[in-house]
């Protein structure tokens, strides 16, 4: 179960996500992100503490991305852990996100 931590600046909302991002946490995650996108021009999802993300969690990331795009807001992912980055890569969605401070290698599958 993921834990969410919110922090708001003038133009930047940061949601720090920790723990497992799966079917159990999707509703809360989506609601928080939607709220962040309403209030700020830039929503940053800090995923450094994410320990696990399944396809449901990934689906929520994609929905948030879509919401941001539709409302003309900026969405960035920050501090991706290796596992999360790998999931994004395996599922072919890593290129869809703007990643801040992502210096790690993206390993090839297989």
């Amino acid at each position: 179960m993921a834990h969410f931590n919110e922090q708001t600046d003038d133009d930047l909302c940061v949601i720090r996500v920790a723990g497992e991002v799966d079917i159990a946490s999707t509703e809360e995650f989506l609601a928080l992100a939607t709220d962040g996108l309403d209030r700020c021009r830039h929503l940053r999802l800090d995923l450094s503490e994410v320990s696990f993300m399944d396809s449901s969690g990934l689906g929520i990331l994609l929905r948030i991305r879509r919401l941001a795009a539709d409302s003309g807001k900026r969405l960035t992912l920050a501090s991706l852990g290796a596992g999360t980055r790998r999931i994004l890569q395996v599922t072919g969605v890593h290129q869809l996100f703007e990643v801040e401070g992502d210096t790690g290698d993206v390993r090839a599958s297989g």
């Binding site: 990934l58 929905r63 072919g92 969605v93 869809l96 599958s109």
Partner: protein
């Protein structure tokens, strides 16, 4: 419970009333006794009023000169004699050798013949005893009391008569100490009507009945029988009313207890009923969940191929494993279809999320991808077309798909992936490696262009497609899952393909296996080339 309370109430009422009645009775008896004795004392003193004027007359007779005795007696005693006086007649007597001789007389003497004998007898008694002798005489219409008192030393005696009034009724003053008593006074021991001296009740009601008390009161050398009966309750009104209070009070208390018990019982029944209702609701919800899950499972099973089409030259096996026991059934699926004369196509996909709408979304994805593939599209073209038709913002789900199109005769295979983990290719010698597909966007994440990846399956080679439930574990990196799958799947695979799937599933699935898993394997027959 009600019966018990009623029984207890009845027993308590009976005991309480009995005790109260007994207590009240004994209390009344005691009070009657006390009051009667007091009254008897008063009455005994009252009888002295007869003796006192007679004793006075004797004193006078002894102190005056003999020739004046007659006159003085007549003058002095007259005030005691008359219709409404203490006596109706009186006489002074003397005794000498000749016998009794009347010296003087006051009041009527016409009845003397009737009482003469009695009087003389009484006088002799009086001389002998020194006390007042009392006797009574009935002469049909009247009752006369005859008194005699003598001074033996001086030789004088006085006799009197008192006629009892026709009505013997003498009501007790309401302010007297004995206002609470009915009484009757009889001459002597008998309680016959003619011996009745005095009463406050209608003589027809005599003798007094019920709770009564009789005492004998000395009356000269005779006696009076004094009988009383409480006219009203002598004790406190509480003592009298207690039996009634208890008689009515306890049943009322019992009724109250009964009502209370009924209410408690009803509350308990309601609670039990509530419990039953709640249990029923839980069961119903459980049933509904069960029904919904069953519906989901049936829907999913309906959407999964009942039989896998046979592909000449290939062995095909598939497996679907539901994960969590809730209704959150997943949207994993697999599909195999023949295309044209030598071709075939297959798909393994996964709709993110769970539940009935995930299954519905799965159905849509499954038939859409399949339709393009059956139509002859390459996997990459089919996925590209699909990527334009799915929108996660509208559907709420992300769909990952790996699609492949093969040629039965050549073993050639073209694969494309929309965000789906790469299939594993196991060579005839048992070496396993993931097909290096560069995955495009999942369906729903926007239109994309997908890269085809071509591989050739040599005879005896196996390709395994699966969904992420097979490799993902919450506690580890996804690459660890990939590595484990490759390790488990490697090695010679001589047995039926079904067994291979079971082996892989057994050894890779996470212990908690709460995610759905779909697996599809195709093995090219070894004997064909």
């Amino acid at each position: 419970m009600s019966v018990t309370i009623i029984l207890i109430g009845l027993v308590a009422t009976a005991l309480g009333v009995t005790l109260a009645v007994r207590t009240d009775r004994s209390n009344e008896r005691r009070l009657l006794e006390v009051q009667t004795n007091q009254a008897a004392t008063v009455l005994g003193i009252a009888t002295n009023s007869f003796q006192e004027p007679m004793a006075s007359a004797l004193d006078v007779a002894a102190s005056v000169l003999p020739e004046r005795r007659r006159k003085v007696f007549a003058e002095r005693f007259t005030r005691n004699v008359g219709p409404d006086k203490l006596f109706q007649s009186g006489a002074l007597w003397t005794r000498d050798a000749a016998g009794l001789r009347r010296i003087a007389a006051v009041g009527g003497r016409s009845r003397a013949s009737v009482t003469g004998a009695v009087t003389r007898g009484l006088l002799r008694r009086a001389y002998a005893s020194g006390t007042m002798a009392v006797e009574w005489v009935h002469d049909g219409r009247q009752t006369r009391i005859v008194f005699a008192l003598a001074d033996a030393e001086a030789g004088f005696a006085v006799s009197t008569e008192r006629v009892l009034p026709a009505t013997r009724r003498a009501p007790v003053d309401t302010d007297s100490g004995f206002a609470g008593l009915d009484y009757s006074v009889y001459l002597g021991e008998s309680t016959s009507e003619e011996d009745l001296a005095l009463t406050d009740v209608d003589p027809s009601e005599l003798p007094l009945e019920g709770l009564t008390k009789s005492v004998s009161i000395p009356f000269g050398d005779n006696a009076l029988t004094f009988t009383t009966r409480p006219r009203e309750h002598l004790g406190s009104s509480l003592s009298q009313q207690l039996p009634w209070l208890l008689g009515f009070g306890i049943p009322i208390l019992t009724a109250l207890a009964l009502v209370l018990a009924r209410q408690l019982l009803r509350a308990r029944r309601r609670a039990e009923s509530d419990t039953r209702t709640i249990t029923g609701l839980y069961e119903r919800v459980d049933t509904l969940y069960g029904e919904q899950r069953e519906l989901s499972v049936r829907l999913q099973n309906a959407l999964l191929p009942a039989t896998i089409p046979s592909l000449p030259g290939y062995e095909v096996a598939a497996k679907y494993v539901a994960g969590a026991q809730g209704i959150d059934i997943g949207g994993d699926w697999y599909s195999v279809v023949g295309v044209g004369e030598d071709g075939f196509a297959f798909v393994v996909g996964d709709v993110s999320g769970h539940g009935i709408d995930a299954v519905a979304e799965m159905a849509r994805a499954r038939f859409t991808v399949r339709a393009y593939l059956v139509d002859g599209d390459s996997p990459q073209d089919a996925l590209e077309k699909c990527s334009r038709q799915f929108d996660i913002a509208l559907d709420g789900h992300m769909v990952t798909v790996v699609a492949g199109v093969g040629n039965r005769r050549t073993g050639e295979l073209v694969l494309a992936s929309a965000g789906h983990p790469s299939p594993l290719l196991v060579s005839p010698d048992g070496a396993a490696q993931f097909v290096p597909i560069r995955a495009g966007r999942p369906l729903g994440a926007g239109a994309d262009v997908y890269e085809p990846t071509a591989v050739t399956m040599p005879p005896g080679a196996t390709v395994l497609c699966y969904t992420d439930g097979l490799i993902e574990r919450r506690t580890e990196d996804i690459d660890a899952g990939f590595a484990r799958l490759a390790q488990v799947a490697s090695g010679p695979t001589s047995g039926p393909l079904e067994q291979f799937l079971d082996h892989v599933l057994e050894n890779t699935r996470a212990p908690e296996h709460n995610d759905d898993i779909a697996m599809l394997a195709l093995r090219r027959d070894a004997r064909l080339s």
